[in-house]
């Protein structure tokens, strides 16, 4: 019964999401991969909001009416993604709450007048078959693939399955779009051959289109040099960890191409 109800919720959420996206046609930037999606999404949101600041009126109205919006709370699955797009809270385990969510989703789909111009969406993929339903809802113009890594000590086929899921996303990006690939990850690197869109690679390794060099850590955070498109920039971020640098780099590339 529970799973039947879940299927109904999924069906209608998907339907209302598709109607909403068809009506408003936002520019969708998709972030996918095993880890680091949220940090990349957050940096992209930060950079794009700097580049496309909301009018004072929109700013007063709050998140729901921003020019650029991302998944709240990393909602990124078949049920989570529609909630992210429609900017709705989960109904958790309450059937009543889910009915309210669906009612609100219907109102947004049919009557909403304002909608963000750009959506930055995490696409959560854990196993075979996860990507297809997500791509049935959204048609991204930009895709960023962070990495394809496992959490277990044994070798298994699951990483190859994730690779195939990522391939679906890369193939979906149209010719006038962009695919950003993490050059430090061998599996991600090899996705380039499946892209119709322009591929931009980023990473710490030699050969990346956008590259970080001279990464140093001190008491204030991390410093590094960023090279992209013939330009060089010295950067300081206050956070520790290579993943922040990697995320910063990917977001910076997105900012420069939009």
């Amino acid at each position: 019964m529970k799973s039947f109800f879940k299927k109904i919720v999924q069906f209608f959420l998907k339907l209302f999401t598709k109607i909403t996206l068809w009506r408003h046609k936002p520019y969708v930037i998709a972030v996918s991969g095993s880890t680091n999606k949220t940090t990349i999404k957050d940096y992209i949101l930060k950079f794009l909001r700097e580049k496309y600041p909301p009018s004072p009126r929109l700013r007063r109205a709050g998140g729901e009416y921003e020019n650029v919006r991302g998944n709240p709370k990393s909602y990124n699955t078949e049920i989570g993604l529609p909630l992210a797009i429609l900017y709705l809270e989960s109904g958790d385990s309450s059937a009543m709450k889910w009915l309210k969510v669906l009612t609100r989703a219907k109102m947004i789909a049919l009557f909403s007048r304002k909608f963000p111009k750009k959506l930055v969406l995490e696409l959560g993929v854990e196993e075979k078959g996860d990507m297809k339903p997500l791509l049935e809802m959204v048609s991204p113009k930009v895709a960023i693939i962070t990495n394809i890594e496992g959490s277990y000590t044994y070798s298994n086929s699951s990483l190859e399955q994730i690779f195939n899921e990522m391939k679906l996303l890369v193939e979906k990006i149209p010719e006038n779009g962009h695919v950003l690939l993490n050059w430090d990850d061998e599996r991600v690197k090899s996705l380039a051959e499946f892209a119709r869109a322009k591929v931009i690679t980023y990473g710490f390794s030699e050969g990346a289109d956008a590259r970080v060099k001279n990464l140093k850590t001190d008491a204030q955070g991390q410093t590094f040099d960023f090279e992209f498109g013939g330009e060089k920039e010295s950067v300081r971020i206050k956070k520790y960890g290579r993943h922040f640098v990697s995320a910063w780099m990917a977001a910076k590339v997105v900012k420069s191409i939009l």
Binding site: S151, K238, Y240, G241, R242
Partner: protein
């Protein structure tokens, strides 16, 4: 083996064992919350089991998703760690502490611990062939640190300072200034600091977040930040915690952790991830309950003012009342808190933990846990009132 190297069963567990043999005992001894694990956490664990994700070892430091979620949560608290190389999921905080001490201590090295503090710290230091050295807290000043006393106890063998903030059993929150003074001492004398912040979410009478040394960038190469899901998310049985530290030290600790447990229980890693993502409202609810129970416990202690004097705890779920001299001598033939607690257990059928278990300064005190239900607290105090 000399006495100071012998590892005994924790007095808290010993008291619980004794209590379990006496029918009808109400226990205020072990620090176990009365609540069940939040529903969302249980559901996530069941889903992970059903999806076949938990049967095999994870990577030694834990699944990437769990560590990434931890890093994101730490970031919200102004603590920045690299989830790939600086965070390790552990089988409870005690494993995090043991693995760290085994990684940094040479036999005979000294580790400073507050007096009084959590009983098992002494045992973990001994497991790592180190020597615990007590630094008395200042009871007159709400059990705060006396930094001068602290520095006087540092010797060439001192390797680390291990403490719990907020402190168990006193419920003390160490101030920002005290923590900074500790950090300066650690830099001056080249010491590691192990900061166990298991009770960080239960700070009463304030909406302010607990200040942590994990936020201090200047000591990140010598700090090990430790957090357990046991208390905040009512998950004591899941045995899941994590540590965060600079990557160089993390690498050393990881080797020990791998040798000890291979990896933290994978099902518990999924549960921990769900706790961080979905159970924050439950934590706030628990905190409200604990605050009410603290107030109830203090109210009931007020009625026993001829027996105990106490300081209202600012945090955790423990109160650490001092037993008045006359009463102590009357109840305990040897005049100690151990005998006193045994008498309470056997005659009043109320289990508590003798203060001496937490260090010499804890003598003449007992620890009472108000993590238990209001009903248990009321029954326990009814019995104590009758007994005294």
């Amino acid at each position: 083996m000399s006495d100071d190297k012998i590892i005994n069963l924790s007095p808290i567990k010993e008291m619980e064992l004794r209590a379990s043999r006496i029918p009808g005992v109400v226990s205020l001894a072990q620090g176990v919350p009365s609540f069940d694990t939040p529903e969302a956490v249980k559901r996530a664990a069941i889903e992970a089991i059903e999806r076949g994700k938990v049967a095999k070892y994870s990577l030694a430091p834990g699944t990437l998703e769990f560590r990434e979620t931890i890093a994101q949560n730490l970031e919200r608290e102004n603590k920045f760690f690299d989830f790939e190389s600086e965070i390790i999921a552990t089988a409870g905080s005690i494993e995090a502490i043991t693995a760290t001490l085994l990684a940094i201590l040479e036999p005979g090295d000294e580790v400073l611990i507050p007096d009084p503090t959590y009983t098992s710290y002494q045992a973990t230091i001994k497991v790592a062939r180190g020597a615990p050295v007590f630094v008395p807290l200042d009871e007159e000043n709400r059990w705060s640190f006396d930094i001068e006393k602290f520095e006087r106890l540092i010797t060439p063998r001192t390797k680390a300072f291990l403490f719990c903030n907020p402190n168990n059993p006193t419920g003390t929150i160490f101030t920002r200034n005290q923590l900074h003074a500790l950090a300066q001492l650690a830099i001056k004398h080249n010491l590691y600091i192990l900061s166990d912040e298991v009770y960080k979410d239960f700070v009463f009478d304030s909406d302010e977040r607990l200040y942590s040394l994990g936020e201090l960038r200047g000591i990140r190469d010598r700090l090990v930040y430790i957090f357990s899901f046991s208390k905040a998310y009512a998950m004591t049985g899941w045995r899941i915690a994590y540590l965060a530290t600079h990557q160089k030290l993390a690498k050393k600790i990881l080797a020990v952790h791998d040798a000890l447990v291979t990896c933290a229980p994978v099902v518990s890693q999924y549960a921990g991830m769900a706790a961080l993502e979905l159970a924050n409202e439950d934590v706030l609810k628990f905190k409200e309950y604990f605050q009410k129970r603290r107030d109830l416990t203090c109210k009931r202690l007020d009625k026993l003012s001829h027996v105990f004097e106490y300081q209202k705890p600012d945090s955790s779920y423990f109160v650490f009342p001092k037993i008045k001299d006359g009463i102590l001598k009357k109840v305990a033939s040897d005049g100690g808190s151990w005998e006193f607690a045994i008498q309470l257990l056997e005659k009043a059928k109320v289990a508590t933990v003798p203060g001496v278990a937490f260090g010499p300064s804890g003598e003449n005190h007992i620890r009472m846990c108000f993590g238990r239900s209001e009903e248990d607290i009321n029954i326990a105090f009814d019995r104590l009132e009758k007994f005294f």
